[in-house]
């Protein structure tokens, strides 16, 4: 049994904290009554996932997760919540009351099936590693092997930004 006071024990404890933050953030994001609270839960969940990425030997992706998701996506969603009203507070339920329990049941079965499959399968580790997966290797493969996809993603982002500006402008003069 490993002691809590060693470095490994503390890092294991921190890992448990990150798991808790991730799951609690996800639950808040889906169950909170007001939209602003669920965006805050989403940001919390993304922070936890960034911590998990750090434990997966990729600090660069963890930083990108914080920068892009917490810094950009969540802030954009908050802007949209401010522009559109949050009608969750005054909503009247006009739909079947069975939707909530059925959704809970379906996602529970899916979680059980996926987790059971992940635990039962015998995963084989790679026979040898080509590199260590550091930031240098990542940059080299982004600019050599994956340079075409990299450029295509930039074009997709440009088109998305211009398209969203055009979409949000239509009907503004009304």
């Amino acid at each position: 049994m490993m002691s809590l006071l060693t470095a490994e024990g503390l890092s294991g404890l921190l890992f448990l904290v990150f798991i808790g933050v991730t799951l609690a953030g996800a639950l808040v994001a889906t169950n909170a009554r007001s939209l602003i609270r669920s965006v805050a839960g989403l940001a919390l969940c993304f922070l936890g996932v960034a911590g998990l990425y750090y434990y997966l030997n990729s600090p660069f992706v963890a930083l990108m997760q914080i920068l892009i998701y917490v810094g950009a996506v969540c802030v954009t969603i908050i802007f949209a919540v401010m522009l559109a009203e949050s009608s969750d507070l005054k909503r009247v339920t006009r739909r079947n009351g069975l939707v909530g329990p059925l959704a809970f049941l379906t996602s529970g079965i899916l979680i059980w099936a996926l987790a059971g499959l992940a635990l039962k399968t015998e995963w084989r580790p790679a026979p040898c590693l080509l590199n260590r997966g550091t930031v240098e290797n990542l940059g080299q493969s982004l600019l050599t092997t994956y340079s075409m996809s990299f450029e295509l993603i930039s074009v997709v982002l440009l088109v998305a930004v211009v398209g969203s500006l055009v979409l949000a402008r239509v009907g503004r003069d009304k």
Partner: protein, 108 residues
Amino acid sequence: MNVLVLSNSLHTYLVIAALLFGIGLYGMVQRQTFIGMLISAELILSGASLNFMAFNRFLAPDPTVGQVFTLFIMAIAAAEAAIALSIIIAVYRNYKSIDTEDVVDLQG
């Protein structure tokens, strides 16, 4: 089984990713506003990226593949969020609501 060495096993990450996916799916069905559904979609996407990163760390012979793929997923998710939010703003301008039940013109 020691709880403190969970971070070194593939199964932990796969179970967390399955939980994120399931919670996101639940929110997708249960939410009544477009922005809530977009938030749930982001949860599902982050579950998928976590799966990629876990397999990349434990099983892949080239440990940069999963990281590159996750970065691409992030870029696509940002583009998707921008487009979806501007569509939501356009819908709000026309219908004065972001409730999914209000935008059913063709319902019989």
